[in-house]
Amino acid sequence: MDDIANPADDAARLARFEARVAREDKIEPNDWMPDAYRRTLLRQISQHGHSEIVGMLPEGNWLTRAPSLRRKAILLAKVQDEAGHGLYLYGAAETLGISREELTEQLLTGAAKYSSIFNYPTLSWADVGAIGWLVDGAAIMNQIPLCRCSYGPYARAMIRICKEESFHQRQGFEIMLTLSRGTQEQKAMAQDALDRWWWPSLMMFGPHDSQSPHTDNSTRWKIKRVSNDELRKRFIDATVPQSRYLGLTIPDADLAFDAASGHWRTGEIDWEEFRRVVAGDGPCNRERLADRRAAHDDGAWVREAALAYAEKRKSSRR
C-alpha cells in the first residue's frame, strides 16, 4: 500500500482511480484505491457473505422435515450453495486485506451485520417455498447489477452466485405452486407464508433512496449501479403477476397498478419494524447468532486438530 503521504500524490492517484472506474476498468486487489472505497466494499461484501452463511439457518430448520426425498435433496443442494456463496464472498473480502478469522469474529461478536430477513422464523414448510420465491428473488434482483461492480473479485463472485442462484428461486416458486394447487390447508399454508414474508422481502432492498446513507460514493465508484427504490420497484413488478398466477393475495390493501407509470404501487413499508430488526430486536436475532457461535465453538477442536496434523506431517518430512 501507500507509503507516500503527499497530498498532491493522493489527489493524482484519486483522479487516476476515478478515471479508471469511469471508463469501466475493473479495480483489482493490488491496485491503488481510496480508503473509503476499500471500507465500503469491505462492509458490503462481508455483510453479503455473512448473510449467505446465516441464511443457511432458517432453511436448515426444514432439512430433516422436507415432505419428500426429492424436496429434501433440492433443499440440501440449496443450503450447500448458500455455504459456497458465503465462501466466494469471504474470499472476495479477504482480497481487501481482512483475514477469514477476523471476518468470522466480526459476525460472531455482532460487529458486522447480515441481512435482516434471516431474523424471521421458518414456521411451516411453505416458508421454504416463500424464501426461495421471494427472498432469493429479491436477492437476485439485487445481485444482477453487482455482477458489473467496479471491484473485480466482487464482480466475479457475483457472476458465479447469480448463475447458481436462479434454481433457488425456481424451486421456491415450484413449492408455492404445488401448495397453492393442493388442498385447502396447503393453500392456506402458502398464503400464510406469503403474508409473513412479503413485507420483510421488500425491506431487503434497504431504506428509501432519500434515506440511504451509503448511496453517493457507492454510485460514483460503480459499486452500486441501481438504487434501492428502483430495485424494489423491479422486484414488485416481477412478483405481483406471479402471485396472481399462484392465486394468492399480497397482504397490502393499497397495492394498485398505476397505469400512468406502468408500475405497481404499494403501501408504505413499516420502517419502524425494519429498524427494530436491524438493531437486533427481530424474532430470531439472538437465536441465529447463538447457533453460529455454537457451530464455531463446536468446530474449534477440528480446526485445531487439522492444523496440528498438518504441522506434524510437515516436520516429519523434514
Binding site: 450447500q80 450453495d81 459456497g84 466466494y88 474470499g91 447458481e164 485445531e304 492444523l307 496434523y309 498438518a310
Partner: protein, 95 residues
C-alpha cells in the same frame, strides 16, 4: 478469541480434457489434501471440471500493478508482431 490462521490456497480447475487449468478462487485449509476436498465442495458442485490444482497462495509471485506500463506497454508499439501488420497481395491467396 485468537485463533491460529488456517492457510490460504488458490484453486485451479481444468474444465475438460484438453483445456488448461484456470484460476477460479481460493479456499482455506490446514493442508493440501483438505484444500483439495474443500475446493471440490466449493467450486465443483455442478460438474465444473475434471481436474483440480491447489497452490499455497503464499507461493505465488505477482507483478506489481505499478510496473504495468514498464512491463506490458512495449508490446503495443510492436504491431509488426501480428500477422495483420502485413498485406499479402490478393494474387498470392491464403497465407
Amino acid at each position: 478469541m485468537t485463533e491460529a490462521m488456517t492457510p490460504l490456497w488458490e484453486v485451479f480447475i481444468r474444465a475438460k480434457a484438453g483445456l488448461a487449468h484456470r484460476h477460479v478462487g481460493s479456499v482455506h485449509a490446514a493442508d493440501s489434501e483438505m484444500a483439495l476436498q474443500a475446493a471440490r465442495d466449493v467450486y465443483t458442485r455442478r460438474g465444473e471440471g475434471v481436474s483440480l490444482w491447489v497452490v499455497p497462495s503464499a507461493a505465488i509471485t505477482a507483478s506489481d500493478p505499478g510496473d504495468e506500463a514498464a512491463l506490458f506497454e512495449p508490446a503495443s508499439t510492436k504491431p509488426y508482431r501480428h500477422p495483420t501488420f502485413y498485406t499479402v497481395p490478393k494474387e498470392v491467396g491464403d497465407m
